[in-house]
């Protein structure tokens, strides 16, 4: 243990190194680290904000989807209702049409029947006249007896 002037020399060296650290090392490192810390903090905050925005928008999207689903259900219901309505209407129309056709056919048939009856009547009248002619054995003047004949036709 011998104290000598080395002590002062080392102290000067130490002070010089302290000065160097204070002036040139620490501020540089501190600056770099603090800037990075800020960058990371900003990034984390941004990520947090992004997550929040994502949550909000996904909730919104869910709501929209639910709304759309509801509307789609309504539309389908309406369409179904309309379809049954249309079917009912068609059925009704078809029934009407059918009955009309049936009525027309019936009328035609009746017409045919009356026409046939008329023709039959004429023929019977002819036969009757021919029979009467033969019975009377004389020529019946058709013109003078037309009135009588037509009356007979009606009676048949």
């Amino acid at each position: 243990m011998n104290i000598n002037v080395t002590l002062f020399a080392q102290a000067v060296v130490f002070i010089a190194f302290i000065w160097f650290s204070v002036k040139f090392i620490w501020p540089h490192l501190l600056n770099a680290i603090e800037t990075r810390q800020k960058t990371i903090a900003d990034g984390l905050a941004a990520a947090e904000r992004g997550k929040l925005a994502l949550e909000v928008s996904s909730k919104q999207a869910d709501e929209e989807i639910a709304k759309a689903r509801g509307r789609a259900g309504d539309i389908i219901g309406q369409a179904e209702k309309r379809a049954t309505q249309l079917i009912e209407e068609a059925k009704l129309a078809a029934r009407d049409e059918g009955s009309r056709e049936k009525a027309a056919a019936k009328a035609e048939i009746e017409q045919e029947v009356s026409r046939a009856r008329e023709a039959l009547r004429e023929q019977v009248a002819g036969l009757v006249i021919a029979g009467a002619e033969k019975i009377l054995r004389r020529e019946v003047n058709a013109q003078s007896h037309a009135e009588l004949l037509s009356q007979m036709k009606k009676e048949i």
Partner: protein
């Protein structure tokens, strides 16, 4: 050591414990330990230079592994300082802690270098002796401790004012009763005296003891031979030195850490009002 020469322990150890002194004036005091100073300056330049080099190119973006390593050291020291020193630390105290830690750690680490191999190189500079562990030189540890001591007093006066500091010398810690002034002053004097002593001698003692143990083991190895002990001493001392070196890693780091922490503690105490 020239092989084959029997060395007495005193000779061997004295040889390794003599400084490379240089007279710069008359009397024993005016001697410079060129070995301590040159190794200390070199290590300071290497350690702080490396950190400065990394700090200069430090980016706030994604750091390189080298920068990440330096930032780990930075963060470690910053956290330790933050734990003790509750005032603004970035302006002075934290960089001082960084300087102390890096420098003392490197100076302590010189203990790992095998002395006799290093001596082969240093004999070219100084035949007489060359000690490569600056912290095993009491001048170095006192230089550091006294610088911290001066800073401590400087900050005490700066923070509290000269009057405040003198008031504290007389009125703390026991109280401001005039009867207690003398005891307060005595207590403070002892405190101011013991701080640099314990600060510097703790580091010096640890490093010096470590060096001595290495020297004893190496001396055992050097005196071992076929004729004397069938190289048994060489084997045993090498094993022991290996174990001691591993243990010494702890001491080297721990003492650097303790020295740094005490520096911060003393500067922190200087900032506190009583």
């Amino acid at each position: 050591m020239a092989s084959g020469t029997e060395l007495t322990p005193t000779e061997y150890i004295n040889h390794h414990l003599s400084f490379f002194g240089k007279q710069v004036g008359d009397g024993g005091f005016w001697t410079l330990h060129m070995d301590s100073i040159s190794v200390a300056v070199l290590l300071g330049f290497v350690g702080l230079g490396f950190i400065w080099w990394v700090a200069r190119g430090a980016t706030a973006g994604v750091p390189t592994k080298r920068q990440a390593f330096v930032e780990l050291v930075f963060d470690f020291i910053d956290n330790q300082t933050k734990g003790i020193f509750k005032h603004e630390r970035h302006g002075f105290v934290a960089p001082v802690a960084l300087t102390v830690f890096i420098w003392v750690l490197l100076m302590n680490s010189m203990d790992f270098l095998p002395v006799d191999w290093v001596a082969k190189g240093t004999h070219a500079i100084s035949e007489h002796g060359f000690r490569i562990v600056p912290t095993a030189d009491v001048n170095t540890t006192f230089a550091l401790a006294l610088t911290v001591w001066v800073l401590m007093i400087y900050y005490s006066i700066k923070v509290k004012g000269l009057g405040g500091w003198i008031h504290e010398l007389f009125c703390a810690p026991f109280g401001s009763n005039p009867l207690l002034w003398i005891f307060n002053l005595l207590f403070n004097a002892i405190e101011y005296l013991s701080k640099p002593l314990s600060h510097s001698l703790r580091l010096f003692g640890n490093m010096y003891a470590g060096e001595i143990i290495f020297l004893l083991l190496w001396m055992w190895a050097a005196n071992s031979g076929w004729g004397t002990d069938h190289y048994l001493g060489l084997v045993i001392s090498s094993v022991l030195a290996f174990a001691w070196a591993i243990f010494h890693i702890l001491i080297v780091a721990l003492q650097a850490y303790v020295f740094m922490m005490l520096t911060v503690v003393y500067l922190s105490m200087a900032h506190e009002h009583h």
